[in-house]
Symmetry: C2
Subunit: 371 residues, 2 copies
């Protein structure tokens, strides 16, 4: 995976240069704006960079050059365009996480304080007037907005370097669709937390699936692949094959996330144990468990789920209830089936051999992760 | 102002077509997404369209065609590009207002419920589970994010129609700068509400001025003009003249807004009387009043300002205190001086005669408004 490692380094280096360039601009407006750069650096450091990787390999799948190959027929400008697009996706993701943590009222992100908590601390440490919490929330909302605009700037900078007008239009169309889908997907997610009990029992699983598809599968895997392929001028057949790989893998990716949200090790995930249970996320895992539980066990689960004051032992009990229902095994089966279907979709697809190998290996990383 | 009226109609028609096109896309994802379209329509209906107008007249100032002039040397594509950019600015503004109302905890916008209150009502009327208020806030945060992405899309669509690469780059640079400046300007605004008391007394006025410049003057007037002029391939001298007009006029625009926030008629502004006093905005008006008050009167003002529970009679008392200090007359003088300086900046500038006349007339509208 030397090429993937190199890509991740180049994306980090793009992020660093971008923030280095913004720092004096903000300082010229007001010295008090330093936290916007400092917090952006923190939230943009590390992470798994899956979106950047899928964007890069989506492009590589149709363009087939090696990043290190000096004989490549692809221009340096095109490579630079793909790197900027991949960087834009990571900056967009940071924005989404900052806003997501506000909505979920999360104290931590990757084991460190979330953006709104950081601004809240800044307020407190500076001994400013008024309530620290709303100041934290408003500031993080603005940080998210700024990151959204920076993401757009990076993406536009990337497109600017692309010679083909068709590729520019296709890539922007994918980027635009991605932003709309993930935003409404997040709405469907919070809607489900409130609205699920007013929906027919028979629709719970399909509603949970709908959230996964829009909030995560398309956003995290399918769209980055399609954006990358569009940048490389991929044919309809190539983009379709990448979608057929991306969507089921994206669903598997989110199912793994849902499992980690309930059973993940706080030391590894950087989130409290059973975080999703306290938040009351109506995931596919929960929907399947509910189908398999007796009415009385289901009522107990429904009553506890979403209680922010849930104790450790209640978390443990819910974990056991979900596991004993057979839902965990069932979700593992779905993850396996989706991953197989993803890998099969590109096995004979008109995509570069090296990209197919890397995507298959990435699929493995994505669904086996522990954080 | 027939041309301005026509422009406002065309922007509205662009907004309508854009939302008409998004409606089936969202409905295909989930029928529950209807509120995103319905609320967007409401928040994008009406308004003064100052940003669209300044964008259009900034373009017209350097390009000089008449929108109705069939002999115009400017291509239909360029006109369409300017209209899309003007529309993008209005959609961006709607996004900013939706997020702003969350931060200010405002119940109303133009006399109707704000976005987060609308989603909160939807939650209540649907009899969903959990707290309606955080659902309202999260949903409005997402609506704002969606509007931001739609604004980008409209702006990019506009640029796409422009033949000149230089004009595309220049206009995008202005758009990007505008987004960054208004976002950090809003941060400086909320920062001042919390941090002012920890700053030296002598800096209060200059800090309030800094907020005005970034949150409002550049955003509402200078940037739209610069974007418009860039779309028309304006020369450096032309763009500079428009900036010299836009910045002081923008400051005057916000000073008028600050006066309306304290003394405005709720029937006309659609906001409660003395809204800014309850919010504790540290405006230029307040900074000037503080400089002129006795220490004891200043302490009283500082104690009351920002109290959300302020009574009608306390609002009345603060209004009288500010007026009696002479701050209102002083702000009126600054508004006049800035407006004169704005109008003088374009009197002999290398800009089309018709645009100079329209901008001068717009300046008058902007500072004489009552809502």
């Amino acid at each position: 995976m030397a090429e993937s490692t190199r890509l991740v380094d180049l994306v980090q280096s793009n992020i660093d240069s971008f923030l280095d360039a913004r720092e004096p601009e903000l300082a010229a407006i007001a010295p008090e704006l330093t936290p916007f750069i400092d917090f952006s650096r923190e939230f943009l450091a590390g992470g798994k960079r899956f979106r950047a990787l899928f964007c890069y390999w989506g492009w590589q799948a149709v363009a087939a050059p090696d990043l290190f190959d000096s004989d490549s027929s692809k221009s340096a400008a095109e490579v630079s365009s793909v790197l900027l697009a991949a960087t834009a996706l990571e900056v967009f993701h940071a924005a989404a996480l900052v806003h997501d943590d506000i909505m979920d009222n999360s104290d931590t992100r990757r084991g460190k304080p979330s953006a709104h908590r950081r601004f809240e601390s800044l307020h407190r440490e500076s001994n400013w007037l008024g309530n620290a919490a709303p100041f934290g929330t408003s500031s993080a909302l603005l940080l998210g907005d700024l990151l959204l605009s920076w993401s757009d700037e990076l993406f536009a900078d990337g497109l600017q370097k692309l010679a083909s007008l068709d590729a520019r239009i296709a890539a922007r169309t994918e980027f635009t669709a991605m932003r709309m889908e993930v935003t409404v997907g997040q709405y469907l997610d919070i809607l489900e937390e409130s609205a699920w009990a007013r929906q027919p029992e028979a629709e719970q699983l399909s509603r949970a699936n709908r959230v996964i598809v829009y909030k995560s599968a398309k956003y995290s895997v399918e769209a980055p692949l399609a954006i990358g392929a569009s940048l490389g001028g991929g044919s309809l057949a190539q983009v379709a094959a990448l979608r057929d790989f991306g969507l089921p893998l994206g669903v598997a990716f989110q199912l793994r996330d849902d499992m980690l949200g309930v059973f993940g090790d706080p030391e590894v995930t950087g989130k409290p144990a059973g975080d999703d249970l306290r938040e009351g996320k109506r995931t596919v895992l929960v929907a399947i468990a509910r189908q398999r539980l007796t009415p009385s066990a289901r009522r107990l689960l429904d009553e506890l789920l979403g209680d922010p004051e849930m104790t450790e032992s209640q978390v443990g009990m819910l974990q056991a209830t979900i596991r004993d229902s057979g839902a965990v095994d069932e979700v593992e089966r779905i993850i396996d089936a989706n991953t197989r279907s993803a890998v099969e979709a590109i096995a004979d697809a008109p995509l570069s051999r090296s990209a197919r190998a890397q995507l298959t290996s990435l699929a493995d990383t994505v669904i086996r992760r522990t954080a």
